[in-house]
């Protein structure tokens, strides 16, 4: 099978799975199920494409689908603020950063990724499937949580209060600020290029 055909097959299977799960979700749990199925397909499909794709740029865009899918999950879980933050920071920030990385480096076009992906998936997938079987508990209701949910009560306002409430997260908030400062200084220090930091023989090999 040629590379192109393999890729087509992969996307076909993915699309089939996505539509199938969407339909199943609609049948089983109504609109919420449909939404869930769509976002799950978006998330997992995006991740799968990201791994599968040869081109880094396309992978990065596939990752965007994943991030958006997760944002969708936040929406149906009633955390609209999270969804917004996810879209703004992840899609707008982290992904943009990754794309910069893609543009600033020279991708390796000769990468043959399929065999390794197959082997890794088989191994790790097997191991993780085992863990999941233990975790979720096959056939046993180990989690014993509510099936139907009430309307969510937490709003963005509450999150804002929690950030600044001295009995809740103000320390974590301030620490995060300091963390960002440290990260910024670290990133700037490493990324800044000055000739005197490189002696000739070290920089060029």
């Amino acid at each position: 099978m040629s590379e192109l055909n393999r890729q087509r097959l992969f996307y076909t299977v993915l699309a089939f799975l996505a539509f199938g799960s969407a339909g199943k979700g609609l049948l089983e749990a109504g609109v919420e199920g449909l939404m869930f199925s769509i976002f799950a397909s978006l998330t997992l499909g995006g991740a799968a494409v990201c791994i599968w794709e040869r081109s880094v740029v396309r992978s990065a865009f596939a990752l965007m689908a994943t991030f958006l899918g997760v944002a969708g999950f936040f929406l149906i879980l009633g955390s609209d603020f999270l969804a917004m933050a996810q879209v703004l920071i992840y899609v707008g920030g982290v992904l943009a950063l990754l794309l910069f990385g893609v543009m600033l480096t020279k991708p390796d076009l000769n990468e043959r990724s399929l065999p390794r992906i197959g082997a890794a998936t088989a191994l790790i997938g097997g191991g993780i499937a085992f863990l999941v079987s233990q975790m979720v508990g096959v056939g046993v209701k180990t989690w014993a949580m509510a099936e139907t949910l009430e309307e969510p009560t937490t709003k963005a306002h509450d999150i804002g209060i929690a950030f600044l409430d001295p009995k809740q997260y103000v320390v974590a908030f301030e620490l995060a600020a300091f963390l960002l400062t440290v990260a910024l200084v670290a990133a700037v220090y490493i990324a800044r290029r000055r000739t005197e930091d490189f002696t000739p023989e070290e920089g060029q090999v």
Binding site: A47, F67, I89, V94, T105, S113, I117, V136, A187
Partner: protein
């Protein structure tokens, strides 16, 4: 939808993230894989927060995860650019001066 559905998605995303880190020969994919793992735990937190009867802890954690991911991506990218500058390659396997 029960919690198991969300768990399934998050575990799958977690696994995909690890596969991404291990299998692709480009350091940027490693970063992407790490983002996937973090997103998987974000899903968990959000879902558990909802299913455990509301509250705010899970949501707060998600926000901090997002902050962490941004900070880490910044530092990681700086390091990656530095490595690329020195080794002229984005393959992690090319940088193997330190071994044994």
């Amino acid at each position: 939808m029960g919690i198991e559905a969300y768990l399934f998605v998050s575990v799958a995303l977690f696994a995909l993230g690890i596969i991404c880190i291990v299998s692709r020969r480009n350091i940027l994919y490693v970063l992407m894989g790490i983002e996937m793992i973090l997103n998987a735990s974000s899903i968990n937190f959000a879902a558990f927060n909802r299913f455990n009867g509301g509250g705010i802890d899970g949501q707060m954690f998600v926000i901090f995860i997002i902050i962490l991911a941004a900070a880490e991506a910044a530092v990681a990218l700086a390091i990656v650019l530095n490595v690329f500058h020195l080794f002229h390659s984005v393959k992690p396997s090319e940088a193997d001066l330190l071994r044994e």
